[in-house]
């Protein structure tokens, strides 16, 4: 397959069509909706994906998360998760 499966910190990703990300009060979690289905995201996954807006780079997303949760060294975790998300076609590389 020719499709990219790795992501670098300088890249920008966004939620891919036909997925839609939204917060669900009833489930107290972020979910990805797609035709006739739903992926319920755990806390970290939701926090990462809600920042994948097609504008911010992965680096910036990592910076925001580290600031929000007062942690450091999250970059590798974020990239690993984004690569899984990319394989699942939840996200796409904008640039």
């Amino acid at each position: 397959m020719s499709k990219e499966t790795t992501i670098s910190a300088s890249q920008v990703v966004a939620i891919a069509k036909p997925y839609r990300l939204q917060f669900e009060e009833a489930q107290e979690s972020w979910v990805l909706l797609y035709p006739e289905g739903m992926v319920k995201l755990n806390g970290p996954a939701g926090e990462i994906l809600k920042r994948c807006d097609g504008i911010k780079s992965i680096e910036t997303v990592v910076g925001e998360l580290e600031a929000a949760f007062e942690q450091t060294g999250l970059q590798q975790d974020v990239i690993s998760f984004c690569e899984i998300a990319l394989q699942n076609r939840w996200i796409t590389i904008s640039r």
């Binding site: 397959m1 499709k3 069509k17 036909p18 839609r20 939204q22 669900e24 009060e25 009833a26 489930q27 979910v31 909706l33 797609y34 035709p35 006739e36 289905g37 739903m38």
Partner: protein
Amino acid sequence: MDINSESTSALADDKPTPGPPLWLLCELTYRCPLHCVFCYNPVNFDNVKNELDTESWIRVLRQSRKLGSVQCGFSGGEPLLRDDLEELVGEAHKLGYYTNLLTSGVGLTESRTSVLKDAGLDHIQLSFQDSTKELNDFLSHTKTFDLKLKVARTITDHDIPMVLNCVIHRLNIDYIENIIQMAIELGAECLELANTQFYSWAKVNQAHLLPSREQLERAEKITNEYRDKFADKIRIIFVVPDYYETRPKKCMNGWGNVFLTISPDGTALPCHTAAMLPGPAFPNVKQHSIEEIWYRSEGFNRFRGTDWMKEPCRSCSEKENDLGGCRCQAYMLANDPTVADPVCDKSPEHHNVEAAVANAQLPNKQVADEHPLIFRDAKSSQKLDKDGVVF
């Protein structure tokens, strides 16, 4: 309870409550320009004349969303026959639903597609009956094939994600390769090859529609080849006909678990065929709130969980996997909705499924001798109803 009340007190009850009705299916109408021989609308659909009005549908959408519904399907019949479809899609979108339109494509003009897209429609599932004009038009008893191709292009031109759905059965399963190729050419994001499940009109026509094992295995093999080869282009879903299984399906993912159907007259059902079941009538949104229906009605609690089970289900180690299978199938094949789904080989009535499967191995000429194919139309509906056919 007042029908406009949207209290969520049940969520605070002490005893464990089921999750929300994540999937809301609005069957806007049973009216349909097609006459498909495998239609899952009730055989007596022609008796239903009093469709909900726009205001009632909007109330359903609001109440259900408040309980936590996220997926909203608009189906039928043909939902495009409702001229308030655009308004309902718009409302559903504003409420935060992921909106799905399940359509034959008849009536989906360029301008309606454009308005639906602007209203926030997220996805269209377009049904095809076959990859050839001849068989499509024969099976739906209409001249709709060319129109469907045109509609498919209109949908992709408007950049609306499209899933193609083709009901698979004895008469078209041998052309599965052409069907897959067509879906790829039309740019579908996903293709559902849904083997006929034998309810309603498909049950009436079962002998004509149940494929042989050989047909099924060939189709599955071809599907897998295409799935590998075009993994990047299209997702292909192949739904196996459950008569060929030895364990039943976890029907609707559990009774009253995630799925809520509202039929055209406002009757709320745990699945779109449950109205066939004997017992008290299912609740109607004209009299009850969605919250009351989902959490507290007799109908939605009747087969919830595992407490209702009899043997062999009750002591079965696999009961949580399939929750005893389908209640409608138990009723149709064992004449009792409270017993194991006869698809299960532990069911004492499993021989009924085996007999149907054995019959399907016969050559076409010997299989289909009960009656000719019965097309779904008002006249046949009236006749089947008069003859006491309930499924």
